[in-house]
Amino acid sequence: MASQQMNRLAAGGLIDRTTPLSFTFDGKAMTGYAGDTLASALVANGVKLVGRSFKYHRPRGILTASSEEPNALVELRSGARREANTRATTTELYDGLDALSQNRWPSLGFDVMAVNSLLSPIFVAGFYYKTFMWPAKFWEKIYEPAIRRAAGLGRTSGVADPDHYDKAWAHCDVLIVGSGPAGLAAALAAGGAGARVILTEEDPLVGGRLNSDGGEIDTIPAAEWADAALGELRSMRNVRVITRTAVFGVYDGGTYGALERINDHVPVPAKHQVRQRLWRIVAKRCILAAGATERPIVFPGNDVPGVMMASAVRTYIERFAAVPGKRLALFTNNDDGWKTAETALRAGVEITAVIDARKNVPAHCRALAENGDFALYSGNVAGVRGGKAGISQVEIAMADGRRATVSADTLAMSGGWNPSVGLASHHRGRPKWQAEIAAFVPDGCPPGMTVAGAANGELSLGACLRSGHEAGASAAMDCGHAAARYTAPAATDESVAIAPLWHVEGKQKAFVDFQHDVTASDVALAQREGFESVEHLKRYTTLGMATDQGKTSNVTGLAIMAQLSGRSIPQTGTTIYRPPQVPVAIGAFAGHHRDENFHATRLTPSHHWATERGAVFVDTGLWKRAQWYPLPGEKDWLESVTREVLAVRNGVGFCDVSTLGKIDVMGKDAGVFLDRVYINAFSSLGVGKARYGLMLREDGIVMDDGTTSRLAEDHYYLTTTTAKAGPVMQHLEFCRQVLWPELDVQLTSCTDQWATFSIAGPNTRDLLREIVDPAEDLSNEDFPFMGVREVQLRGGMVARLFRISFSGEMAFEISVLARYGDALARNLMIAGKPFGVTPYGTEALGVMRIEKGHVAGPELNGTTTAGDLGLDKMMSKKKDFVGRVMAGREALVAPNRQVVVGFKPLDKARRLRSGAHVIPRGAPIGPETDHGYVTSVCYSPIVGQWIGLGLVERGRERMGEIVRAHDPLRDEDYEVEICNPCFYDPEGGRQRG
């Protein structure tokens, strides 16, 4: 089985050779081992070509061995789990893994769109903007779809993600990002001091470059030291190591976003397991030990399969025991790149040449070439030969002007290392240039963060360990943990000398951004066309966009721009760094909150009873409210609602109104308090009485309405509308705590304490007499309109009974403790059976309140005053109240304000629609003739046609006027009569029974 893996070394590597795994790439069966990534398994199987590039469809191979990979993006999995643009370098191999290359048709080897490459002179930066400008209407229908087919990356599945994601919080003293030498040293120091530590590692293995670069720490081989350090950390109860977890953002107040890929390394998560988890980590201190990213050199042909980062070559050989090729050439401008030659030699790979761009190659490097018996060229790579099967030869332009060609199937390149400054810059930090390493390092961090190791430009192993240890100890001390048990681990400080090299000129394309196919000449074009600022360069060329966010290309691109524009690199500067540092699935941000769990829902105590009766529910804020109760044979909602309305008007019905906000207002100043929040008086309300109240916002606009009852001298029971329960409670608390702290008032929400039903209709009292204890007197004399009291119910229950009406009918509201709400609904059905009791929903409730001309949410819409609603007479002149002064402003008392009126279409068969605009007859349509609009509509079985309420300029003076209802949204225009908003029993005789 393993014989297939022709590029796998016989021994070594951090792979489990006892666990072979099968997988397919573009349908071809291959094998690898546990511990492989998809990329390392492809390397082991000798696969060079893994994808086609974004714009030119150029053949591409694997460039890196880490999360910065721009090229090796695949479609992973199939069906609903199909996942585009998955980096092969971070995809852990699992048995049965199925990967497809992207952006090619019909096949990876033969891609018809590769013709784009021949047309490349026109596919330059800004190409789309320049070419597809005209005719404009072609863009949406023709150009864009065509471009999207030709360019672009992978395909999404197009169906809902079957996996689950969740979100969690974590808290610690010290968050350490990255578990390379600096991160491990920091964790040992901080953990040893007793601090609560979270160490995150993007990879499944801790150790970072220690797993790839060899070397010794405290005289132990580096990878073994990493393993021992992990063991030590795991033994500390105050330390938590989370692998497969990338910190992607730094937010306010020491909060960090991280993505844990819990089950990305298995085909399908086990039942009840989540795929990924989004962490919000709250940390007092953070140590950024995210290491550095090796950068490519921009030379002709640098994107041909087989050209690979030098550090990646080491990773494939050391960590995965997979050799990228048999004949290796190395192109470097720094000492670190030479490590690859050492690694390759140890693995028995033939080195055909090392091309060092520096004028003076250090002696120890020269010695290595001599001992290793390979050619050393001082100069640059001028081009490569080869194609989709990989490179075959490397062309060298030597410093002395001579040229040479060497044979190689792999070209390792190293342009130096860029510290991972992204997270340090998430609060708009701008990194500073450090000439010794020819790279940017952080310059100031978000509060609480320090940077250690390579991320801070300390590139040697010894320096990483020392700075990590120091950062860990000092962060622990900041959190009150003084005594560190550890001393800094020791290692040598190997040389990391570099002479910057950004761009080697030549005829072939030289790529800066591999993922977005941005070449050095695109950067030059941007400069010529005036896009010199790095932010403009990024937008114009798309350099640094897409899934890799330019981790391999940004610095090189701006360095080339600096050369072209005659500025220094620090003058040119970097683009702004923003989260996310690594790609995060939207599903992870949503977590549990999808489908029926999109938001929390609130259910009333009799919800399940209503469900049993087949109620149709409507979302009212978070509540599920019964909208109507269809009966078998009813053909639509209107039929059900009309039946419910008539049943109430002619008999008796009940409606669940438990969703209304309810607030206990207590204390000896409760009455005074309510006088100040309502426009009308409440301190004068007698115990055992209810009153309708209206409250204004501070600006004089109506906030909410409802009835408030006085249950005792120092206890009022205030109700709000369903929608405004929360805001009203907030407003009242503000009044209590901030405006009048001297008042003795206590507020408590008791919305959920009570189950409340409105019982309405001429037979209401008959029904109540069935269920209320016979000793209770419900007559008008003993229980008048707006009376409130506690009553005994049959069967040993007590209830609060309120004689209030929203429907215009004889009505009571009855409340019992919520635990008996379900029983009450069932008992009301029993008690009302002789009278044909009908449960009704919010639609029928709405019909009846419109018929009665009662205002509700659509009229209390944040623009209306008490006067607009016809309630200005309620405004007390004897007291002050919130909103009084502002309500007197000129514009709020202007005679031409839009006020509440009723509407009736002249055509009795016409359906009135809310939202229609009111235009005078014969007037042109426009904003200046728009006199108002329809707010609420219903079909009124009483009136026998559609009716509505609305707001109309000087409406009260215009009763009987015929106007147009103009509805451009539905393309309707019809005549309506402005009328009194009360369509039903205007004298109110029925509700007073």
């Binding site: 689950h164 969740d166 979100k167 969690a168 919080w169 974590a170 808290h171 609560r196 086990a270 039942k271 009840h272 397991q273 989540v274 919000r280 709250v282 549990h592 769990n597 938001h599 929390a600 829902t601 609130r602 259910l603 105590p605 919800h607 399940h608 978070l622 509540w623 206990d664 207590m666 204390g667 000896k668 120092d714 001297e742 008042l743 003795d744 008032v745 206590q746 408590t748 929400s749 008791c750 919305t751 959920d752 304490q753 269920i771 119910l793 049959r794 069967g795 040993g796 229950m797 007590v798 403790l817 919520a818 635990r819 008996y820 709400g821 379900d822 029983a823 008992n827 029993i830 008690a831």
Partner: protein, 213 residues
Amino acid sequence: MVDFVWNVRSPLQQAVVPGRAGAIVAFSGVKLAEIRDFDLVQIFARRGQREATAKAVKKHYGVEAPAPRQAVFGKGATLIWSGPDQVMALSARKPGTFRPLDAMRESFESIASLSDQSDGRCLIRMSGPQVRSMMAKLTSVDLHDSVFPVGAAATTSIDHAAVNLWRSENSEDGSPVFNVLVFSSFADSIWHTIVDAAAEYGIEIETRPAASS
């Protein structure tokens, strides 16, 4: 004349199914219990009556009133701090009774306002070796021993709904025990959120009367 029967129904009656749920594991990582039949009264000191209320609490319940962000456990009741000048008193309900304020009025007359919340909240108790991992998905509160020891309380939110959260004595298996009072109307929804969060650890679900918990 019909006889009316007044059956009690918990807001969680449908949602809570006693037994095992979630992942099938040898030992459930999370134990969830709906605690039923409790009385819950909000005690809210009148203006200027903070000390008097604390004294009245001590006299009535025999324990010191809880300090901010604390819960105390008296013989007959658990007292949970729920905001400035506010305490929730949680006790087992005597079967068939529904007027918990009656027995308290005398003690708190003109000192504190009382609001019966026995039906306004559901009480969910969570424990088990993985309870903290599960709670990390529900609350932003740091539940580490050093921050949230036994007797700690918080007024916070789960799934954007307000809750009172406190920690009581560790369970027999040594795992921490967290209690949350959730608004009754949210209970069904929050229960499903909790079960979702706990599913991967394996869940043991029960209901139990407050008197035997």
